[in-house]
Symmetry: C2
Subunit: 190 residues, 2 copies
Amino acid sequence: MCETPARILETTEDVLRRFGPAKATVVDVARALGVSHGSVYRHFGSKAALREAVTQRWLDQSHTTLSAVADAEGPAGPRLREWLAALFAAKRRKAGDDPELFATYMVLVGENSGVVERHVETMIGQLARIVASGVRDGEFTAPDPAATARALWDATNRFHDPAYAAEWSRPGIDEAFATVCDLVLRGLRA
Amino acid sequence: MCETPARILETTEDVLRRFGPAKATVVDVARALGVSHGSVYRHFGSKAALREAVTQRWLDQSHTTLSAVADAEGPAGPRLREWLAALFAAKRRKAGDDPELFATYMVLVGENSGVVERHVETMIGQLARIVASGVRDGEFTAPDPAATARALWDATNRFHDPAYAAEWSRPGIDEAFATVCDLVLRGLRA
């Protein structure tokens, strides 16, 4: 039988959902796949490597969609707003649709700070591309697009940092999001 | 002997620091004061009320200083920046000077969401006064100063929400703070 890394990661997610992050083992993953744990270790050298890969996969899920928004045609202002809204929507979906799995990933995220840092760098990189394109078109003013991108990430963290997930279903959160977007978009105007 | 509420709260903080939030009791507080626990209950009707009051006192510690900044004379822009910097400095001091007590208060804050909400409302109220004064003087544009104040609070939460305390001593944090301040201040310009 041929276990692709993708199938192993999917199964790992199932196992994590079923047993929780404290109890899930590589043996559980192998059993669920009907293979020896050696077959899993062939792709992921250790339990830590497998957990890191599954965390990365989960964090990267919305990268492609967001990346398409970041690199779309048209004025940078609406594109930035769309990107921030798409990020918020993706995070909300993850937190709301499967809260147990979300909690599990919060544990994994706590264990894999390197993976999280790389994810944040990718996100800020996409923001920097939007800011730079706005500067190029004379729509935005930003002396250092990378630093401004980091500031945009920081200024909107109530709407993407999982630490605030409990607030994402409260009344008024959409208005709060829109007001922060208005403020930072005005701050970018040339 | 006469136990003022202020002395009881000070002693409660000492007791919390010594025993931790899980173990500290009203009897410990009374013993540290050399009085019966009835004397404590005369001022604070229950252990919960005492914990709530000590949490409130801790959260309110920088209210007066910040309030003086909010209501000072002069242009609103520099005043807003000074207020945000004073808040960040106060939070950093609390987290850095006595990390154990800070951790203790994080537990209490988790128990007393009503106290936290009132504290946040006070903070946002001070921001709203600065924004409104800037609008009055033609320095800022903000159709709804209260909503804008909330957005300012949200946009700067990396620099005041204790969830981020671990980041407050990292290199680059002061530049990140300055860049967020620049962005939101530009966003307020008339």
